[in-house]
Amino acid sequence: MRVTETWYLTLSALLFTVGFVGLLVRRNPLVMFMSLELMLNAVNISFVAFANKLDDIAGQTAVFFVLVVAAAEVVVGLSIVVAVMRRRPSITADDLRSLKG
């Protein structure tokens, strides 16, 4: 059985959906964050699969940028999460409602 690009694209779509649903149903900011990472990595798989299919380097370059930007987002995001958690341990997104509208 040959593994074609379609398989990778399906995997990417599935991972993206898992991340998407995870972000919507989970309430712990850290887990929501993991879901976001899952979505970004699904994008990476999709880019690489297309790059392989098209025999073009641009898709792989895109992955490098997504990877680095995702790392920057993790650093910034985790810093904010830590700032929130230090004020309120064991926080969930539902507790964040001092601003509502």
Binding site: F64, L67, A71, L78, S79
Partner: protein, 121 residues
């Protein structure tokens, strides 16, 4: 067997060899050593302290900042590797680009150092 899989044959052989050698040593040892089971030996080893509390525990914030810095600088290296493989073709243009890139990274490290993030105590 395809070309692709044949290249991994060596890896599989190495893996089998490793498992075999380690298995042989442990098996040999179990034949030779004395066997006296007791309840205390089955407990989780936590530096001699009884394991209590939940799996979630706080760790020092210092580890955290170091980890964040590490993630940042570690991932930036992804741009340097492909550049290094073609260093000669890129010539002075590529060299200048990378100097600018690394200079900005160094500025970030210098900033962290000056603001006392790298101080452990």
């Amino acid at each position: 067997m395809s070309d692709f899989l044949r290249q991994y044959l060596l890896v599989i052989l190495f893996a089998l060899l490793a498992v075999g050698v380690v298995g042989a040593f442990i098996g040999l040892a179990s034949l030779l050593r004395p066997n006296r089971p007791s309840k205390g030996k089955l407990e989780n080893y936590e530096s001699g302290v009884d394991p209590v509390g939940s799996g979630w525990s706080q760790s020092q914030i210092r580890y955290y900042i170091f980890a964040l810095l590490f993630v940042m600088f570690d991932v930036e290296a992804v741009f340097i590797f492909p550049w290094a493989t073609r260093l000669e073709e890129y010539g002075y243009f590529g060299l200048l680009e990378m100097v600018i890139f690394i200079a900005i990274l160094t500025l970030g490290l210098g900033y962290a150092w000056r603001k006392g993030v790298l101080r452990w105590a």
